[in-house]
């Protein structure tokens, strides 16, 4: 064994890479629904919910500091390249750091803390919406300029009034918790029984 057990070994890093890939694919597939403007608010529920299973499994495979953080940095960076705005990455890093300290406080053994941590982690999804709330006019003209037309832009803006921002934050958190619980349930039902978690 290595001298320090809290260091991320190459095995851990490879596992993180695999779960990052799964998380990314799942989140990307689910986030596609946001292309229809009515469904944009639904992103804040669907992404945390679907990502819960890979995240919970990762947290049982890699019980060390840094797994969530690395996932957040990589996924956030790829999403930034794909055009989700500049907010996602910094918010993702902050919320992943907070989540890291929560799992750490449970000594990486507490299931409740892991679920709570994933809820906090999911606050990053709100980073996607930030351009709409913080630079509404610029966002609207950007959408129109991009060739989407006024009709589309107005629909988008109409479905996301300012008062909905705290609701979205709460939804990210609540559905993160739900996703975490779902992940725990799946883990218990399948992976514990097969001796893989």
């Amino acid at each position: 064994m290595q001298k320090s057990d809290n260091r991320l070994t190459p095995k851990d890093l490879i596992n993180i890479g695999i779960f990052t890939a799964i998380y990314f694919v799942v989140a990307f597939a689910v986030a596609m629904i946001g292309y229809i403007p009515i469904f944009i608010p639904l992103q804040s529920m669907a992404v945390p919910l679907a990502g819960g299973i890979p995240m919970m499994l990762m947290l049982t495979k890699v019980r060390k500091f840094g797994a969530m953080l690395i996932l957040a940095v990589v996924v956030g960076a790829v999403y930034t390249v794909m055009g989700s705005g500049i907010w996602l990455l910094p918010i993702g890093i902050v919320s992943a750091l907070a989540a890291e300290f929560i799992v750490k406080s449970g000594k990486y053994q507490s299931a409740k803390k892991a679920v709570l941590a994933y809820g906090v982690f999911c606050l990053a999804v709100f980073g996607n919406y930030m351009p709409i709330f913080f630079s509404r006019d610029a966002y609207r003209s950007f959408v129109i300029e991009s060739g989407y037309g006024e009709e589309y832009a107005d629909a988008l803006i109409r479905y996301l009034p300012n008062w909905i921002a705290p609701v979205l934050v709460a939804a990210c958190f609540a559905f993160g918790i739900l996703g975490g619980l779902l992940g725990r349930a799946v883990l218990k039902k399948h992976f514990d029984r097969a001796g893989m978690a």
Binding site: P10, I14, F19, I53, P54, G66, V81, F142, S146, V186
Partner: protein, 248 residues
């Protein structure tokens, strides 16, 4: 004995430095999804959208190039002809699919180009030359190698389900999540174990500095692509300043 033989890959097309490819993925991705229109951007956008096609052709990925050319021109023509003649819900749905193609396809194809023409060793040595910590470099290289596997396994699971008559038409989304996800993650975990054993055999965890046979470096063929990337990035920054930070 040339390095080509030792590498063992049969790649014959244009050889670019992985860092050049990464820079171009970055530029194409960001500018086409977040960049604006008008001014210099009128020329930058088509140039960047054309880039994946050029690179795929130069690296002899004929079928991918043909797919990209067909899909992109269909989306482009759709944008011109269909959108102006439809409205309401139909218009939204068309916008969604057309917009998706026009904005994400070039970036995704660039990503495909990067992954399919770069070996893991090349990638790792490029990462080390850029002084990226192993904590990011290893997950990243695993991740990019893993995407095709995810798709393959997903298809295999679908086949197995169909063979056993498990159909998802019943409309149980949670069940579907379970039946699809669980086997996929089981085999992903196994693949991960194999991967880490293979990596350990190659000395990934050892405290000594790893050597690498790949000769990474910028050559003449990198220059035009790097210059084009730099120019497009400059145009984008100029647009950002002119538009007060843009929408982001």
């Amino acid at each position: 004995m040339t390095a080509e033989l030792l590498r063992g890959d049969a790649y014959q097309g244009l050889r670019l430095d992985p860092r050049t490819k990464m820079a171009m993925v970055f530029v194409v991705g960001i500018i086409l999804t977040a960049g604006g229109y008008g001014g210099l951007m009128t020329y930058v956008r088509p140039a960047l959208a054309f880039m994946p096609l050029l690179l795929l052709l130069l690296s002899k990925r004929w079928s991918a190039a043909a797919f990209y050319a067909a899909a992109f021109s269909a989306a482009y023509l759709g944008e011109i002809f269909l959108l102006s003649s439809t409205f309401g819900i139909l218009n939204f749905i068309l916008l969604a699919s057309v917009g998706l193609f026009a904005r994400f396809m070039p970036g995704l194809m660039m990503g495909y180009f990067l992954v399919s023409t770069t070996t893991v060793s090349d990638f790792m040595s490029a990462m080390r030359k850029m002084h990226v910590t192993e904590k990011l470099a290893i997950p990243l290289s695993v991740m990019f190698r893993f995407f095709p596997t995810v798709r393959e396994e997903y298809g295999a699971i679908g086949d197995a389900m169909r063979m056993r008559g498990v159909s998802l038409c019943g409309g149980k989304p949670l069940k579907m999540l379970e039946y699809r996800f669980v086997p996929m993650m089981m085999c992903s975990l196994k693949i991960g174990e194999e991967l880490s054993t293979a990596a350990l055999t190659r000395g990934l965890g050892s405290p000594a500095k790893r050597t690498n046979i790949c000769r990474i470096g910028f050559h003449a063929q990198d220059i035009p692509f790097l210059m084009l990337s730099a120019f497009c990035l400059a145009a984008y920054v100029r647009w950002l300043i002119a538009n007060g930070g843009g929408a982001w």
